[in-house]
């Protein structure tokens, strides 16, 4: 079988994407789906800010506000930030390490569909009786007593998309362990690959506690189990522990890849080797490790006792040390470099003060006695938005500009990009800086409104104005994407001119097999080395031109996910006594799932070979007679 004979047309394209196992296309799908959920979460945020714009507002009801704030948090963390990062990991990491695909292409596709349908399932709750309303942390003392099916949508939706995340995490770990090109030793891996590696390890160890927590919650609500019900001997604090044992590593799962992306951007646009590469690697690993030691800083006020609080406070403060190492390394990368302030670099420059501010408030909260004041106030909201927006979202936007040419062979408009940045950046600080003071003035988080006599109006109004500025920024980014797509100007290889790592050495558009010959990696920043030595090819090859082995496309991941999706509806409605038909949904959905698994294990899938003459034909099709390396 050869995939070179391509069909065209809309239906064929859709089919191609649904069945694809190509990491580049899966990366694009993650980007699309993540953006969709990001916009959704953004709209929820805007509605909340409108409600909080003035005191005693009744723009939305208190109950609806709870649903908004729950869905905003859940969507942004699980369905926007993570998938968008996964999009870049998929698009970039295999190219950075010189691989033709990930280790498990089939599972890669399955992971994407599980995430996507988990997200769709969760959001369908809006139309099917109400969204979850117990906060993104869904503390059991609230969620067990939440009416309707909102919480069940939360539990089942996150269970599905969490399974997808876990699969992707294992996939990236194995890819990075086994599929590196010859010469790509661990200490020559670009920093984005390193942070992907560590973040995947965190996923591996952090998601199972969430899985268990969600399962116990499901059993409590569905089968009448008593894990969190204190009248039956249960303990609601167990949920908090399980959630935060997942939850704190989760924030590092998000921020480490963002660090990696910024490390690439700083080195590229300072036109200098990343300062302190090995200490960056060390800091990444250390942060990953410490990330598991600090979860109880979310529970200082629960009453774990002074000793526990003291230990977790010190452990939390310790994380600031490796994080500080990173910040200084970025600064010293720029020091003496020949800096080019492109849009990605602008985002990187904006990131440093914003993220540092978030880190400083983090250390403040880590002081347990002070946290008794700060906990559950707007100060916390300010803190985590400074690290999440100032760290992760800036990284996502910056990398969208940085990697756009790699993914789409087009360059986003730089001028519009700079205007976008300023709107978003100013809007971000305007929204969240004042929230520190709102917190200190006593405004609790997760409230639907506040009184006129409390003196909170001005700052809340400023905050809402900032949110509008951010929304304008996001809109401009979308316009930029559309404009660039219409202009459709191809840019070719190494469009920034300063690419250092392997992904920039590949001719554009990247052929579906990535590398015609496996490259030989000769050092850190291998493409830079080749360029310095005047190698027109951009790569030294580790093998002669030969047949390439590639995985087959498959529709099974999509069907499996649909099966699970149907089964989840069955499980959800099975809790209602008046819906006996739901059991058929459950059984039917699971049958589809198991039938697919059966088909997968009984039908061998050996992949196929792309022969040398097919490779040459494909290169001529993509680059014309002169080849792609010029």
């Amino acid at each position: 079988m050869s995939s070179i004979a391509k069909k065209t047309g809309f239906g064929a394209t859709v089919w191609d994407y649904i069945t694809t196992v190509d990491h580049k296309k899966i990366g694009v799908m993650y980007l699309l789906a993540g953006t969709f959920f990001f916009v959704l979460g953004g709209i929820e945020a805007l509605l909340m800010r409108i409600q909080l714009m003035r005191p005693n507002n009744d723009f939305v009801s208190a109950g609806f506000f709870n649903e908004l704030m729950t869905m905003h948090g859940t969507t942004m963390i699980f369905l926007a930030a993570m998938p968008l990062l996964f999009g870049f990991m998929n698009a970039v990491v295999p190219l950075q390490i010189g691989a033709r695909d990930v280790a498990f292409p089939f599972l890669n596709s399955l992971g994407f569909w599980l995430f996507f349908f988990g997200g769709v399932f969760l959001n369908l709750s809006w139309f099917l009786g109400g969204a979850p309303d117990a906060g993104w942390t869904s503390y059991a003392s609230l969620s067990l007593y939440s009416e309707g099916h909102g919480i069940d949508f939360y539990v089942l939706g996150l269970q599905i998309s969490g399974a997808g995340t876990l699969i992707s995490g294992i996939n990236f770990l194995v890819t990075i362990i086994n599929m590196r090109a010859p010469g790509m030793t661990y200490m020559r891996m670009p920093l984005f690959t390193w942070t992907t590696f560590v973040a995947s390890a965190l996923i591996l160890f952090a998601f199972p506690p969430l899985t268990i927590g969600l399962a116990l919650m499901l059993f409590d609500r569905m089968f009448g189990a008593n894990f969190f019900d204190h009248t039956m001997g249960g303990n609601t604090i167990i949920w908090e522990h399980l959630f935060w044992i997942f939850g704190h590593p989760e924030v590092y799962i998000l921020v480490l890849p963002a660090f990696g992306l910024f490390s690439e951007i700083f080195a590229t646009f300072s036109r200098k080797r990343l300062f302190g590469y090995s200490s960056m690697v060390f800091a990444t690993i250390l942060i990953g490790f410490l990330g598991f030691m600090v979860w109880a800083h979310h529970m200082f006020t629960v009453g774990l006792g002074a000793t526990a609080n003291a230990i977790f406070a010190v452990a939390t403060m310790a994380i600031a040390v490796p994080t500080g190492m990173k910040v200084f390394n970025w600064l010293l990368t720029m020091w003496g470099g020949s800096i080019k302030v492109t849009v990605p670099m602008l985002y990187a420059l904006g990131f440093i003060p914003s993220f540092v501010a978030g880190g400083v408030t983090g250390v403040m909260q880590a002081a347990a006695p002070l946290d008794y004041q700060l906990h559950d106030s707007y100060f916390i909201v300010a803190h985590f938005h400074y690290v999440i927006v100032g760290g992760i979202v800036l990284a996502l936007f910056g990398s969208a500009h940085y990697y756009w040419p790699l993914m789409f062979n087009q360059m986003l408009d730089e001028r519009l990009g700079k205007v976008t940045f300023w709107f978003f950046f100013v809007g971000f600080h305007c929204t969240f800086f004042v929230q520190h003071f709102l917190g200190l003035m006593g405004m609790p988080r997760r409230v639907a409104t506040y009184g006129a006599e409390q003196g909170l109006d001005t700052f809340n109004l400023i905050s809402t104005i900032g949110a509008a500025l951010m929304a304008i920024g996001v809109l401009m980014l979308v316009i930029n994407v559309v404009k660039t797509a219409i202009k459709n100007e191809k840019v070719g290889r190494d469009p920034w001119g300063d690419g250092r790592t392997l992904e920039w050495a590949i001719p554009q558009p990247v052929p579906f097999y990535n590398f015609r010959q496996t490259p030989l990696v000769r050092g850190l920043d291998t493409y830079w080395i080749e360029k310095q030595e005047g190698n027109e090819e951009g790569m030294t090859y580790a093998e002669p031109l030969g047949d390439i082995h590639m995985p087959n496309n498959s529709i099974l991941p999509f069907i499996m996910t649909i099966g699970l999706f149907i089964a989840s509806f069955g499980a959800l409605y099975n809790m209602d006594a008046d819906k006996p038909w739901s059991i058929f949904l459950l059984i039917g959905g699971l049958s589809i799932l198991f039938a697919c698994m059966f088909a997968r294990s009984f039908k061998d899938d050996h992949g196929y070979h792309v022969h040398v003459e097919d490779i040459l034909a494909e290169e001529e099709r993509l680059y014309g007679k002169k080849g792609g390396n010029n």
Binding site: L173, N178, M179, P209, A225, M232, L242, I245, S601, H606
Partner: protein
């Protein structure tokens, strides 16, 4: 390397499960999956320990670990499962020596022992339920059935998996495509066994004391 190539005992590689890139990926990926399973069970163990013997205020001495568990039965289950781990070792030993018949036979015996274990577990659960120790009886009962039942579900999954491996490959013999599959299935079986050792110790032995 062509994965469908026919081998003899002489040409068969020393580590057939890792002779291809796909095999190597499976090998590493499966170990990582087991790491994740360990955390999964650790969470369940922690929950169980927190809720052990906890129930509504009205709960008496009747349904505590001391009065409920019957160690002889559980000991028999332990022996059966440990033996099944040993038989799966034999299966992999034969797989490495390219003795397909030996592999299939010992895998078959593993499945039978696993099924016996599962039957005993169902009997045990059934017995408790008849005593009135339902899933919804108390926090303790929920935690107990969830921990031990999750392990039981893993056993069931392992049985289905190994059985379908045996059936699927019965006609074609060993090659580098299915050798990693046998290998990781055996690995999974060992893992289930190790988890049971912990359940036996933490739930039953420490419970009966």
């Amino acid at each position: 390397m062509d994965v469908n190539k026919e081998f003899t005992a002489q040409t068969w590689p020393d580590h057939p499960e890792q002779a291809t890139l796909e095999g190597k990926n499976k090998f590493v990926g499966f170990w990582l999956f087991l790491a994740c399973e360990i955390v999964l069970f650790a969470s369940l163990f922690a929950t169980y320990l927190a809720l052990k013997n906890r129930g509504p205020a009205s709960m008496g001495e009747e349904f505590t670990t001391q009065s409920l568990f019957e160690l002889p039965l559980v000991f028999a289950m332990t022996m059966v499962l440990l033996t099944s781990s040993l038989t799966s070792v034999y299966a992999i030993y034969h797989m490495k020596n390219h003795n397909f018949k030996g592999t299939q036979t010992w895998m078959g015996i593993t499945v039978i022992l696993g099924a016996v274990f599962l039957a005993l577990e169902i009997y045990e659960f059934n017995h408790y339920v008849h005593l009135g120790f339902h899933y919804t009886h108390s926090a303790f009962s929920s935690a107990f059935y969830t921990l031990v039942g999750t392990h039981g579900a893993h056993v069931l999954l392992g049985l289905c998996w190994i059985t379908s491996l045996i059936i699927r490959n019965n006609k074609r013999g060993l090659n580098l495509y299915n050798a990693p599959k046998y290998y990781v299935a055996a690995l999974y079986w060992h893992f289930i066994d190790v988890v049971w050792v912990f359940i036996f110790t933490v739930v039953y032995l420490m419970g009966a004391m």
